[in-house]
């Protein structure tokens, strides 16, 4: 769950009274934008991306405007602009208008968790405004601190002192940056990054740090972020419709992590355990529709709901339903298999039969009982299947599933379809 930009970031920073650049949202009137330009002499027009998109500046995604015509031109250009980073493409949904903050100094500052120090850590440099990866190591300081006492003024002062930062920026930063710990520590963040913070002189000539961009990540397992009452649509683009539906079932009893791998995949693999998830997803590659981890001993009801959603989205296009996990230590195989089998039967009842080859590799408590329940269901649905115990190498079972998928592509699917539709046991006819 990520959040970028000042439109919402500004609201969060104001909660801890951290100064923020003047910002107007996409719905602002021409008069309001004119007023903003008048106040600041110049404004930035930035696209609004839901979720996390970085490095906008580099991609020409920031417009500068000194009059309303320029501002509106940038608005038109950037309102629905697309931005690609790696394999992720995001589309903007609106723009912000941000007042120019005159400054001599730009500061980078972030708080995050460090796996090196196993503590919350700040990263700071007074040579901000560029990507942090481009700042030479000796120009930035990474400082872990005790979460029990929190981020203190001296952490900032010492870091800036070591960096030999200009004297006039130290005091305002020492006064203001610790406020961000209050935000970070109380609202479920796992990252807050301000880049740049521009050091703007106030009326008295004293420098004030003003946040000119905002990036944050929330810890999905920490309900504290809900206190911010952010509208859910802000995070909507992080997740596909399918993922959102599954995420609603996210409780601590049982994992329910999913990720769409290939919307056109042909193997749907409910996977149990983080390790199996990593291994199976890697081996299935683009043939998989989703990557999932449903381990952690989910109760029957939860597994039923999850399976219903998975089947609703993916079963029709799938050649192979591939249920895979190692030898479970604690997950009750009977309960999870019963839930998946019941959901499968329901799917067939509601949508009619769909050609599938079912491949299963699993071990764990109540294994045989679970497999037998699945067997009865699959026999009933007239689907071909193979079930392997935990004494078969998981990677070999994956290879078998891949071979089945290939055969299904080469005509196996059609054979099963003909069988299912041709000799389908008609439901009892209505009689009255």
């Amino acid at each position: 769950m990520q959040l970028t930009g000042l439109l919402w970031g500004g609201k969060l920073l104001k909660k801890v009274e951290f100064p923020v650049a003047d910002v107007l949202g996409p719905e602002s009137s021409v008069d309001e934008i004119k007023e903003l330009i008048k106040r600041h002499g110049e404004i930035f027009v930035k696209p609004v991306f839901k979720g996390g998109v970085g490095k906008k500046g580099k991609s020409g995604l920031i417009g500068r405007a000194k009059n309303i015509e320029e501002a509106l031109r940038h608005k038109e250009r950037l309102y629905f602009v697309e931005h690609s980073a790696g394999n992720i493409t995001a589309k903007a949904d609106g723009v912000t208008f941000e007042g120019f903050v005159p400054a001599k100094h730009e500061v980078y500052f972030s708080i995050s968790e460090s796996t090196v120090y196993r503590a919350p850590t700040i990263t700071i440099t007074h040579e901000g405004g560029v990507d942090i990866e481009e700042v030479p190591k000796d120009k930035l300081r990474v400082v872990p601190f005790d979460p029990l006492t929190g981020l203190k003024s001296y952490h900032i002062a010492n870091a800036l002192e070591e960096l030999k930062a200009p004297k006039e920026i130290i005091s305002p930063l020492v006064q203001n940056l610790p406020k961000l710990w209050t935000l970070y520590n109380n609202y479920g963040f796992s990252l807050i990054e301000l880049n740049p913070i521009r050091m703007m002189p106030n009326a008295a000539g004293r420098l004030v740090p003003v946040a000119c961009d905002f990036k944050a990540t929330f810890d999905i397992d920490d309900p504290a972020w809900k206190r911010l009452e952010l509208p859910p649509h802000l995070f909507a683009s992080d997740y596909s419709e399918f993922e959102q539906e599954i995420n609603q079932l996210r409780t601590y009893q049982g994992q329910s992590d999913v990720f769409v791998i290939n919307p056109h995949g042909t193997i749907t693999a409910p996977t149990f355990g983080g390790g199996a998830n990593a291994l199976v997803t890697e081996l299935l590659g683009e043939r998989a529709t989703i990557s999932s981890d449903f381990g952690g001993n989910p109760p029957y009801e939860k597994m039923l709901q999850i399976s219903r959603i998975v089947f609703k989205y993916w079963l029709k296009q799938s050649n192979v339903l591939f249920i895979i996990g190692g030898k479970a230590n604690n997950t009750d195989i009977y309960q999870t298999f019963r839930a998946m089998a019941d959901a499968l039967r329901e799917y067939f009842q509601d949508n009619g039969p769909t050609p599938l080859f079912v491949v299963i590799g699993r071990g764990g408590p109540n294994l045989v009982k679970g497999m037998a329940y699945m067997k009865d269901t699959l026999d009933r649905l007239k689907l071909p299947y193979r079930m392997f115990g935990h004494d078969s190498a998981m990677s070999e079972v994956v290879n078998y599933a891949l071979t089945v998928d290939e055969w299904m592509r080469q005509g196996g699917r059609r054979l099963i379809e003909e069988k299912l539709l041709g000799k389908r046991e008609e439901p009892a006819q209505a009689t009255v």
Binding site: M1, Q2, G51, N87, T115, R118, A119, L148, N185, G188, D219, D221, D222, A224, Y239, Y252, Q253, Q255, D257, F272, G273, G274, G275, A276, N277, A278, L279, E282, G285, S291, G295, G325, K327, A328, N329, N330, Y334, Q349, G363, P365, M371, D376, L378, P384, R386, G389, D391, S392, A393, M394, S395, Y400, T403, V404, W407, L415, I416, A428, T431, V432
Partner: protein
């Protein structure tokens, strides 16, 4: 600030050697010991480790115990209470929910100065809490394993602490040997151990580290402790992307590192283990490279390209670990610990090609599974009938489910809309055997259901009459009657069902196929044989039933069997059993129903018959006829739906009426387990104790259903009928089924809407918010649009159109909602809800009888209520059977803590 621990670390680490991770001396306290997961796992760990758990905590449950194979573990409200009771421990295991973990850690650290280790099993701990946990434990000198882990184990010490490493059979995977395992994945910790056995390697210490952002006992600590462990000759480490825990390690013993998750470099959010996101430079490829550098190799080890050194190898597939480790150890001159056990080739346990020709490479044949699974499979394949795990069935059902969006309930997967297209007898069969009968089976069902209707001179009928005369409502009358129909009435039929089940379960696949059952007959005791024979004296109904069964078109091995045992006319009990055995056999073999249900079927059947029978006064049951229809004719020629219609209206229905009546009954079979009638049924079962299912009284459960209906639930259908009667009483309407009725429905509706608008305004003006509402108009779910529809009503409309059925009352209702909107009584066009459909069908059925004076308004009201009881009997029978099979004793009660006292 941290406490002083092992010297090599700039932070606190207490464990210097892997020998110390899980020892025989460790004494354990389990937080939230009675939680669902701990309740299963802790007893196994405790027994495997020789009883190392000294106590557990569970606030509010002090004094309880957790039973284990090696004795009870005491439970206290808090750690302090346990310590005050004299217990001492060194290790805490945390099973608390995520929000409670931090506080649990704080508690155990504060109150136990002897604490050395904490193992956190809980998943999804907020990062915020994880950093505080680390800070607390660093300050106080405590090692932490997890969160989100499966604990630690030691095969040498035969100790498992925390989670479920090795599942319910730890001894299968925790085999003493020389390999130490460290794994980000809990499951893979033991999967790797099992894989290692195939090359003859056992284990020393196994650590499931968890894969949260905070890994408290990290690879650096592991490899330090490995170097001090005299037992561990080598190690296997399984890691996933994310975090810098594997960077700059000092690995001193041969190690195979398995790094999985290259694909995760594409992810922008966590999937699987939290924290395993690709970040800057800590993705899978980076980690592979770190390990390759440690081992001095330049590629990944695969069987085709075995790259390894004396120091180790890197693999990306756990199946390659055993081979890679063996190769590395060969270079070090170290042999495996023992002979290889098993192998990792594909071993298929269950297979079916579903009559499809699959290519040879896919057509893998089944092999006998390893012990004990092979034996279990053998046993389970012999098992006949469904078996359900028992659980609390309070407000839960495996029989019915209402979709909150469509408000359409499904019973055994059949929506009530589809149920409406089936006959009453078919729905009754569905309720108990979860499948609709085919035409032959339907005839069999009709025969036995009708065969037991006439109850002339039987006590249940007399009882019903007595109750009726005292002015009781139809449900109360029927409660009195069916309370009489106890177990003794069906004991012979149930015994015969048992005989059939026990003797035929492994030999009959299809009851239509003949079988030589001579040996079975020879094996019957004399006492049992007697049950099959009809008693002396003429029983014309029984003979008619047998004739009907014989002429139904197929033969049944069970009917033949009971006849052959009887050597002539079988008894009523035997015929009843044979018919239900025939109907239920295939569902039984398909494991749709259980043995308990199978044996109980004759009781349900008899109750179905008696519900219809006793809704009719005794005077209409004569020696040889029911409602004026000869018993032999009823048995031989009538369907049970027609009999039910006869009981209500006093005549045989026309074809159109039969269709509408079936539709009506089908629509009301169920509204899910939350309805009062279902709750009554379930409560009655729960109170008898379904864990001993044979004790549950089915007739009492029916009484539970019936007593949980009443003037507000079931009897309220009459409100709409009364409303319609008021509108149409003086209109001269003759045939409500004719569209040529000659009435101006719009005018009637407009006049009423205008009147109602004024009435509503007046009542509101005088502050009466309890003013009379128009029945069956509007719905809490189907509202808010400009024009609203109840999809169930729409469905019926379509069915009526298809069958060219007209109903003036339904037409009126549709006109009325429009008029109400036009008269500005409603904000938009309200829907006509499904209850209206029920009312209009019923009123149409009885309209002529009513207007001709042959039926009083009171009788119409009773008929409406009784119709509801007939239909709902289907759903409630299903709930009763479901609860008997799945429920626990007294599971419908509400804990006192959730009850409210109102002053």
């Amino acid at each position: 600030m941290h406490k002083e621990g092992v010297k090599n670390f700039p932070y606190y680490v207490g464990i210097d050697s892997l020998e110390e991770v899980a020892t025989k001396e460790d004494r354990v306290c389990v937080l939230n010991i009675l939680g669902t997961e701990s309740r299963t796992v802790t007893p196994v760990s405790h027994a495997f480790s020789g009883g190392n758990v000294v106590f557990g905590t569970s606030p509010g449950r002090s004094g309880q115990v957790l039973e284990t194979p090696t004795g009870d573990i005491p439970v206290y409200n808090s750690v302090k209470e346990g310590l005050d009771a004299g217990h001492r421990f060194t290790t805490a295991v945390v099973y608390l929910p995520p929000a409670g973990v931090k506080d649990g850690v704080a508690e155990v650290v504060k109150f136990n100065p002897e604490l050395k280790k904490i193992i956190i099993i809980t998943e999804k701990i907020p990062i915020h809490d994880a950093r505080i946990i680390r800070a607390i434990c660093q300050t106080n000198g405590v090692d932490v394993f997890g969160g989100n882990c499966l604990g630690v184990a030691d095969s040498w010490n035969r100790v498992r602490i925390g989670g479920a490493l090795g599942g319910s059979r730890p001894e299968e995977s925790l085999v003493k040997g020389s390999v130490a395992i460290y794994s980000n994945s809990g499951n893979f910790t033991t999967t790797i151990a099992v894989y290692l056995l195939t090359k003859g390697w056992g284990t020393t210490t196994s650590i499931s580290s968890g894969k949260d952002v905070y890994i408290h006992f990290a690879p650096r600590e592991f490899f330090h402790a490995l170097s001090n462990d005299p037992r561990s000759k080598c190690a296997v480490i399984y890691v996933e992307p994310g975090g810098y825990y594997e960077k700059d390690l000092n690995i001193t013993r041969p190690t195979v590192a398995c790094v999985v998750g290259r694909w995760k470099a594409r992810l922008t959010k966590a999937c699987g283990h939290a924290g395993s996101l690709a970040g800057s430079g800590d993705d899978a490829r980076a980690k592979e490279r770190w390990f390759m550098d440690y081992f001095g190799v330049d590629d990944i080890y695969t069987p085709e390209n075995p790259v390894f050194s004396k120091k180790g190898a890197v693999v990306t597939n756990i199946a390659h670990i055993p081979e890679a480790l063996t190769k590395v150890m060969e270079l070090n001159g170290i042999e495996p610990d023992f002979e290889p056990r098993g192998d990792l080739s594909l071993k298929c346990w269950f297979a079916n090609n579903a009559s499809i020709q699959v290519p040879r490479e896919l057509d893998i044949q089944t092999v006998r599974a390893i012990s004990p699974y092979g034996e279990q499979i053998e046993e389970i394949l012999k098992q006949v009938g469904a078996q359900y795990p028992r659980q609390s069935m309070k407000d839960a059902s495996g029989a019915s489910m209402m979709d909150p969006t469509t408000q359409i309930t499904k019973l055994h997967g059949v929506s009530i809309l589809d149920a409406g297209k089936h006959s009453f007898e078919e729905n009754l069969v569905l309720s108990v055997i979860k499948n609709y009968p085919d035409s032959y089976e339907r005839e069999l069902a009709n025969t036995v259901l009708n065969g037991f209707v006439n109850s002339c001179n039987l006590p249940e009928l007399l009882c019903a009459d007595a109750a009726r005369k005292e002015g009781n409502s139809p449900n109360t009358v029927l409660t009195s009657a069916i309370s009489i129909v106890g177990r003794a009435r069906v004991k012979d039929a149930q015994r015969i069902m048992e005989i059939i089940f026990d003797n035929f379960k492994l030999v009959v696949k299809d009851p239509a196929e003949p079988l030589d059952y001579k040996e079975i007959i020879d094996g019957l005791s004399d006492d049992d044989r007697v049950l099959f024979r009809a008693s002396d004296g003429e029983d014309r109904v029984l003979r008619a039933m047998v004739d009907k069964v014989d002429g139904a078109g197929r033969s049944s091995v069970f009917v033949d069997f009971v006849r052959d045992v009887a050597r002539g006319l079988p008894s009523r009990a035997a015929l009843l059993a044979a018919v239900w055995a025939t109907l239920a056999w295939k569902p039984l073999l398909r494991k749709d129903i259980s043995r308990v249900t199978f044996v109980t079927l004759p009781w349900y059947s008899l109750l179905f018959s008696k519900m219809i029978a006793c809704s009719v006064p005794a005077e209409r049951h004569t020696e040889d006829a029911f409602c004026g229809v000869k018993d032999t004719e009823l048995t031989g020629e009538w369907s049970f739906t027609e009999t039910a219609f006869l009981a209500l209206v006093g005549r045989r229905p026309t074809e159109e009426e039969l269709f509408e009546f079936s539709l009506l009954l089908g629509l009301i079979v169920s509204n899910g387990p939350g309805t009062i009638s279902a709750q009554g049924s379930k409560g009655a079962v729960s109170a008898d104790g379904p864990e001993d299912p044979i004790r549950v009284q089915i007739n009492k459960a029916f009484a539970g259903f019936l007593t949980h209906t009443g003037f507000a639930h079931g009897g309220n259908g009459y409100e709409a009928i009364e409303f319609l009667i008021e509108r149409f009483r003086n209109t001269g309407l003759e045939d409500p089924g004719s569209a040529e009725h000659g009435l101006d429905l719009k005018k009637i509706a407009d006049e009423y809407a205008t009147w109602y608008g004024q009435y509503k305004t007046e009542q509101k003006a005088i502050g009466n918010i309890e003013y009379k509402k128009i029945p069956c108009v509007g719905h809490p779910v189907f509202k808010g649009k400009q024009v609203n529809y109840d999809p169930r009503e729409r469905f019926i409309e379509e069915v009526f159109k298809e069958r060219r059925i007209y109903n003036v009352f339904l037409d009126f209702y549709r006109t009325l909602v429009q008029s109400l909107f036009e008269a500005r009584v409603t904000r938009n066009v309200f829907c006509v809800n499904v209850d209206a459909v029920i009312a209009v069908i019923l009123l149409k059925m009885v309209w002529n009888t009513f207007t001709s004076g042959r039926m009083t308004e009171k009788e119409v009201e009773n008929a409406a209520f009784t119709t509801f009881l007939f239909g709902r009997m289907v759903g409630c029978a299903a709930e009763i059977d479901d609860h008997i099979n799945r429920g626990r004793d007294m599971d419908t009660r509400t804990p006192a803590s959730r009850c409210t006292f109102i002053r």
